[in-house]
Amino acid sequence: MIRRLSRIFLGASLALCLIYPALFFLGSMGDSGYKRGFLLSSIAYFLFAIILAASPDRKKR
């Protein structure tokens, strides 16, 4: 369950990393807002990557 949720959130945070610059490019967001959003999404990405790596994989047991 933890692994599946982590995978979903990992993908979502990576998608956010793309959405923020796209919004900035389209003019819907300012420079500082985009950079802050990208940074937070990146932190989330690595956080979920760590959770995914640390959680036990049943298939491998």
Partner: protein, 460 residues
């Protein structure tokens, strides 16, 4: 204390990874592992430099995308049809295969050359990462023309980063692959995000209607920066093809493909080279144009993506320097038979760290990449000829191993002769390797054919 040290040492010794013998079937890796490894390898810190240099060299947009597209296809085909089949058939690293073909003496020379070249490349990765960290400490990055370090801060920074990278490289192939798998998608997004965010600064409209016009006039406008040689379509095509020459035609990636279940895993390199050696180069070109054509990867990423961009540059350097240091460790291991892997990697890492202090390793990166491939390519040609052509012409294989030669003088003559011939060829540095490869192949087969043993007479 010595007992404690020896306990740590023996734990590190268990990281031994079948370097000296063919990989056993149970150690073969899944396609997913290869995808992660290649994706991590080709979205690297040096992509920030190479793509930016194309802008500084005044490459035109049309020449760039077409040259990169065709050149990368040629590179993938080289991995798939030249490197991977030999690796899968032998399950050996290039270093140990060269030992069979050219003798342990020449293997030592080759491995030393290989290790030095790998170390310089990894040094460039460290230097690029240092430009990013340097921003935070107010350390000035070197200029385009700098050869030696321009400040004590730069030296301390590169030494610190190099030490961190080396410690991680000691952990081994499996862990590196896992780390690259996690980092590579995000690093690639940093390039895309950086380019997207830089486009409005260059005047590109939100509907992209003037992108081609801006690309041709403000980014890849065909005007080289002062002191930089103008490059065209053929240069780009050849650069994209040869930028990993030592790995595919030079067969260094046998070290990786020996773990592949099939030779067709060579096609997975496309997952790395097209995002890394095409999209990432285009993105870094956009980023350097947005900072007024200043060659500073850290600044480029910071201006475009903020603090996350700085982290992206550091991680891009880290994930690529690690496999490069691993390869350097493999290369050095053959000349230090009594040393465990961790000790060899630390030796390679120390040399790399010292080299990274010199800005020339990344300021002359394009030429270095060409020379690097050119120096190692003749041995790839010799191995290719030995593996495929000699059986075809019914010429005896592995003479050095069978006769117990220390050095195969024929291999040495072909290697040095090819490099000399390439040096004398009156063509641009980027184009020299292709005729050189032909020279090496033909001259090696001819030399081996002229020294065939006389057939023994049959007695009844």
């Amino acid at each position: 204390m010595p007992g404690r040290f020896s306990a740590i040492a023996s734990r590190l010794d268990t990281l031994y990874e079948f370097d000296r013998e063919p990989v056993s079937p149970d150690k073969l890796q899944s396609p997913g592992k290869f995808m992660g490894l290649f994706a991590g390898e080709h979205v690297a810190a040096t992509e920030f430099v190479i793509g930016a240099f194309f802008v500084l060299h005044g490459v035109r947009f049309q020449d760039l995308w077409l040259g990169l597209f065709l050149g990368n296809i040629l590179a993938v085909l080289s991995w798939t049809f030249v490197c991977a089949p030999i690796a899968v058939r032998t399950r050996l690293t290039l270093y140990w295969y060269v030992r069979k073909i050219a003798g342990p003496g020449l293997s030592v020379i080759y491995n030393l050359a290989n290790a030095v070249l790998y170390c310089i490349l990894a040094g460039a990765m460290i230097a690029v990462s240092a430009t990013a960290i340097g921003l935070g400490f107010g350390i000035k990055s070197p200029q385009l023309t700098d050869v030696f370090p321009n400040s004590v801060g730069w030296v301390l920074l590169t030494l610190g980063l190099g030490a961190c990278f080396t410690l991680l490289a000691v952990l081994g192939f499996e862990k590196l692959s896992r780390f690259a798998q996690v980092c590579s998608p995000w690093i690639f997004i940093v390039f895309i995000a950086g380019a997207l965010a830089a486009l409005p600064k260059l005047g590109v409209h939100a509907n992209f209607d003037n992108f081609l016009e801006v690309a041709a006039s403000r980014i890849w406008n065909g005007v080289a920066v002062e002191g930089q040689e103008p490059l065209g379509f053929a240069h780009i095509l050849f650069f994209a093809w040869f930028c990993n020459l030592a790995m595919h035609i030079g067969l260094s990636d046998m070290a990786v493909f020996r773990y592949a279940k099939r030779w067709s895993y060579g096609l997975f390199t496309a997952l790395g080279v097209f995002p890394g050696h095409m999209l990432a180069w285009l993105c870094s070109g956009i980023m350097v144009a947005a900072v007024g054509r200043e060659m500073n990867p850290g600044l480029m990423a910071f201006e475009a993506v903020g603090l996350a961009g700085v982290v992206g540059v550091v991680l891009a350097g880290w994930t690529t320097a690690n496999p490069t240091l691993y390869r350097a460790g493999l290369a050095l291991q053959t000349i230090t038979p009594g040393w465990p892997r961790w000790k060899v990697t630390i030796a390679a890492g120390t040399a790399t760290t010292v080299l990274s202090c010199f800005p020339i390793v990344f300021m002359k990166l394009l030429d270095y990449v060409a020379v690097y491939g050119l120096v190692l390519m003749p041995i790839g040609a010799v191995v290719f000829a030995e593996h495929w052509l000699l059986p075809l012409f019914k010429i005896e294989q592995y003479k050095a191993e069978r006769h117990g030669w220390l050095v195969s003088w024929r291999v040495l003559a072909v290697w040095m002769g090819t490099i000399a011939a390439c040096f004398l060829l009156p063509i641009h540095l980027y184009f020299k390797w292709l005729p050189g490869y032909g020279i090496a192949l033909i001259s090696y087969v001819l030399l081996q054919a002229t020294h065939r043993p006389k057939p023994e007479r049959r007695t009844a």
